[in-house]
């Protein structure tokens, strides 16, 4: 009894803290109170509190139900928001000096996933369920945790790339607007797409554009690093899932919808890495690939569960 109340308390605390953090971020964004360092510090502290709350929530659930807290969709969503707050913690601890733009991505992600999990849509799943025989294995911990952490990292990186795309495209629209009398405006979009870095170079004389260039560079590099990390987790997750399937069902690859979509996700991010090797395609093109990857991750994680068929039917649910 005490565990379930503790769990409830922790859920509510983390939810409210994250909403406060997001409110602070929006305030700094819209009211432009950038220089209020105290506010930024408190948002960072808020994220730390959230991280510990969600960790406590997961540990409580683990003790209470006797199995690792990753057996159905609700638990994996909580784990996903834990993954986001973990990424935020790691980047915060590593780069204490610089003001971290990453929190603008991780905090809303954490709250959206947690909010959806605790919302009324999945109420019947809040109680810890009993583990089916096929899930009673040590592999559960490794496979599912790696997959969910991989999803968290890839989603973060994808959002960073989408932000990069938004900034670049807004710049393109602005340039087109400014050079209306330029006869080959269509060719200019092409030219700019291919040499986005170079074009941004020429405008660096203006300090505002210089900062924007710095920002896009930083976003690009951050997203590359985070996506590499996510890709490693995804690879380990898929392969450990295959080995587990061989131990449990006799075949390491069954073209199950969820397996197939995980493989499609892996392929899209492999395409991303290959586009980056060729410097001509770097920048905007790779960001486009990553945006596709963002959608595909959601289809893989959520969309397949809506079908409710196949070997991964434990995660299925119906919207009621």
């Amino acid at each position: 009894m005490i565990f379930s109340t503790l769990e409830h308390i922790l859920t509510h605390i983390s939810f409210s803290v994250v909403s406060i953090v997001i409110t602070i971020h929006f305030l700094t964004l819209f009211l432009l109170v950038d220089e209020v360092v105290g506010l930024y510090d408190s948002s960072e502290k808020g994220m730390i509190v959230t991280f510990f709350c969600i960790t406590g929530l997961l540990v409580t659930r683990w003790i209470y139900s006797g199995h690792f807290p990753l057996s159905d969709l609700y638990e994996s969503l909580i784990f996903l928001s834990w993954g986001f707050s973990l990424i935020h913690m790691v980047s915060y601890l590593k780069f204490k000096k610089h003001k971290n733009n990453l929190s603008a991505i991780t905090a809303p992600s954490a709250i959206f996933t947690q909010g959806f999990a605790t919302s009324g849509l999945l109420t019947k799943m809040h109680q810890s369920a009993i583990l089916a025989p096929a899930l009673q294995s040590q592999w559960l911990m490794m496979h599912v945790s790696m997959m969910v952490l991989g999803y968290a990292a890839l989603l973060c990186g994808s959002l960073l790339s989408v932000a990069l795309l938004v900034i670049t495209i807004r710049k393109a629209i602005k340039i087109i607007g400014e050079n209306n009398n330029f006869a080959f405006s269509f060719g200019k979009i092409q030219y700019m797409n291919e040499r986005s870095n170079v074009l941004l170079n020429t405008y660096f004389l203006s300090s505002k554009n210089y900062y924007r260039y710095q920002l896009t560079q930083q976003l690009d590099r951050w997203s590359y690093r985070i996506i590499s990390l996510g890709f490693i987790f995804l690879t380990i997750g898929i392969l450990s899932g295959a080995v587990w399937a061989n131990e449990a069902w006799g075949s390491y690859w069954n073209w199950d919808p969820k397996e197939t979509w995980a493989f499609i996700t892996w392929t899209i991010f492999a395409i991303y890495f290959h586009t980056r090797t060729n410097t001509n395609l770097e920048g905007v093109n790779s960001a486009l690939v990553v945006s596709m990857g963002f959608l595909i991750i959601w289809i893989c994680y959520f969309g397949v569960n809506l079908l409710g068929i196949g070997l991964h039917s434990y995660g299925s649910f119906t919207l009621n």
Partner: protein
């Protein structure tokens, strides 16, 4: 060598990153860097670019960057870069020799590989959208010709292209094979030469080329050997030659992508072996009966050959299930004995889900269960075995039932006692009118009186659902998996290279890295801060080593 604009304080040559050298229309601030040397040297501007020849790829798909050096004097004939292809003896032989090289060049083209990967991803997505393995009538109904999806997609598309068995269809397998050959070609032509290049120590002799790196800095009053010591402490491998220094770290990060490709090839080979050479079968055996492995296993491909172990007889000693307190099934277990052809017991093990039995290359998995028969005593007579039949199954929930006729068994409207069970734990009994009569557990031996008949449930006999499999490709596939995991992790490492040159009392440092571009400047600054500053009086060497 590409250069980027680097935000350092020293004035810089503005070199655009171009694919083809185009006159850049905004280069009004073009300052050529004057050489800081006292020798009379012609003003040299080095512009590097990648030149695409009209013939496409002449040199095995590599893009060799050619350096164009404009000097006052006549340009020297440098024929080292422009390699003339030696003519082989005879024209026909030359054509045949060139053919594999051209095929290789086509296959290792990166956009082609990216296109193939997109195709594979698209086909897989389509394979999940279209229901697999149904009868043709199903597709006639779902994708009718009268009302095609997107205006053209009918069942003809599905059946002729093999989309109903997408993952073994020629289209899909063909794309996979193409991807595999591209992998092999790319590894051979692009990545192995990269290994040779990366391993070479390349000292940069001129201060300009060092300043052009992504990160560059100048340390006044410092010595290159101090820098070398600091770098060694930070884990770099340092090479000093006179005034110039070259250090690198994380070379494994350059080799790891090759490992990734090789691991993938291994997995594909193992998968092909599995698909063509394995045996598969499944059987539901009631408790107490046995079967021979060879009768159950069927081949899956043309390379499948049975082994001696196929003659083993499997006997199901006992099948039982564990339950949670709430009544849900927690685990099923089967106690198996294996006997060889002479009747000797060679193995005995209790299987459960996630815990298979392995013998002689054959693996037996516990995958399913069923209810075989219910053993009852009727009015003290028996025991009778009533076969249990499966009733409507809702997903994972099973329901079995049987019927004990009472009274006149020859009449057409025979009535009797029905017994239903969801698992082996408890049986629910209903009387002649179909009203609920009671619940009994098989081991309790408690009798129940229904319409004058005394029934005792003696035992619930289950049957075990077993899957058998033999797969020769598994060791290769597992090795490939392990290698893939390892090499993917290693390719996260960043390969950092640092060059330095002693120019009088100052040291010019430049560096670049291929992955961790965000953290590299910070790391470099931290290291450079540690280099000690040499006070004037302790300098004893003459300023004769001036970088040129």
């Amino acid at each position: 060598m590409e250069t980027l604009l680097n935000p350092s304080k020293t004035p810089n040559l503005f070199i655009p990153k171009t694919h083809l050298f185009k006159p850049y229309f905004l280069h009004s601030n073009f300052n050529p860097q004057p050489h800081s040397s006292f020798n009379r040297r012609p003003l040299s501007i080095t512009i590097t670019c990648k030149v695409k020849t009209s013939q496409g790829r002449k040199n095995d798909g590599k893009n060799i960057s050619k350096k164009i050096v404009l000097t006052d004097s006549a340009p020297e004939l440098s024929n080292e870069e422009i390699k003339a292809k030696p003519k082989g003896g005879g024209k026909a032989w030359g054509v045949i020799k060139k053919f594999p090289k051209r095929v290789l060049a086509i296959l290792s083209n990166l956009p082609l590989a990216i296109g193939e990967m997109f195709t594979v991803a698209g086909l897989m997505a389509l394979g999940t959208a279209i229901d697999q393995g149904e009868s043709p009538e199903y597709y006639f109904q779902k994708y009718p010709e009268e009302n095609p999806i997107f205006g053209f997609f009918t069942w003809r598309w599905v059946l002729t292209l093999g989309f109903d068995h997408m993952f073994s269809s020629p289209v899909f397998l063909g794309t996979l094979i193409l991807l595999g050959t591209s992998l092999m070609a790319c590894t051979y032509t692009t990545q192995i030469p990269l290994v040779k290049v990366a391993r070479r120590w390349s000292f940069l002799q001129s201060a300009d080329s060092i300043r052009k790196q992504e990160f560059s800095d100048t340390l006044p009053q410092a010595s290159v050997s101090d820098l070398g010591v600091i770098l060694m402490g930070a884990g770099y491998e340092v090479f000093l030659k006179g005034p110039s220094l070259y250090a690198f770290k994380g070379l494994a990060g350059r080799f790891a992508p090759i490992g990734v490709h090789l691991a993938m090839l291994l997995i594909m080979a193992g998968g092909t072996l599995s698909a063509t050479g394995s045996f598969r079968g499944s059987v539901t055996v009631p408790q107490g009966l046995n079967f021979v492995m060879g009768d159950v296993l069927g081949p899956t491909g043309f390379l499948s050959t049975p082994t001696e172990a196929f003659n083993t007889e499997v006997h199901v000693n006992k099948f039982y299930m564990d339950y949670y307190d709430s009544g849900e099934v927690s685990q099923f277990h089967t106690d198996l004995s294996l006997f060889d052809m002479n009747g000797k017991e060679v193995m005995r093990k209790t299987l459960s889900v996630n815990d298979p039995l392995r013998y002689g290359g054959i693996t037996i998995y516990q995958t399913d269960w069923s209810f075989s028969a219910l053993q009852i005593l009727k009015d003290g007579e028996g025991p009778f075995n009533l076969a249990m039949a499966p009733l409507t199954i809702n997903g994972d929930k099973k329901l079995f039932g049987t019927f004990l006729p009472v009274g006149d068994t020859d009449s057409s409207n025979v009535k009797g006692i029905s017994m239903l069970a969801r698992d082996l734990q408890s049986i629910v009994l209903y009387d002649k009118q179909g009203k609920f009569a009671g619940v009994r557990r098989p081991n309790s031996k408690l009798p129940i009186e229904i319409d004058g008949t005394k029934i005792v449930i003696v035992d619930a006999i289950g049957s075990s659902g077993l899957d058998l499999k033999t797969d020769p490709g598994v060791p290769a596939v597992y090795a490939g998996f392990g290698a893939l995991m390892l090499t993917t992790c290693i390719s996260y490492l960043s390969h950092a290279q640092i060059w330095a040159l002693q120019d009088g009392t100052t040291v010019i440092v430049g560096g670049k890295t291929n992955r961790a571009k965000a953290e590299f400047p910070d790391e470099m600054n931290r290291l450079l801060d540690q280099v000690p500053e040499i006070v004037e009086s302790s300098i004893s060497k003459k300023p004769d080593n001036i970088g040129g």
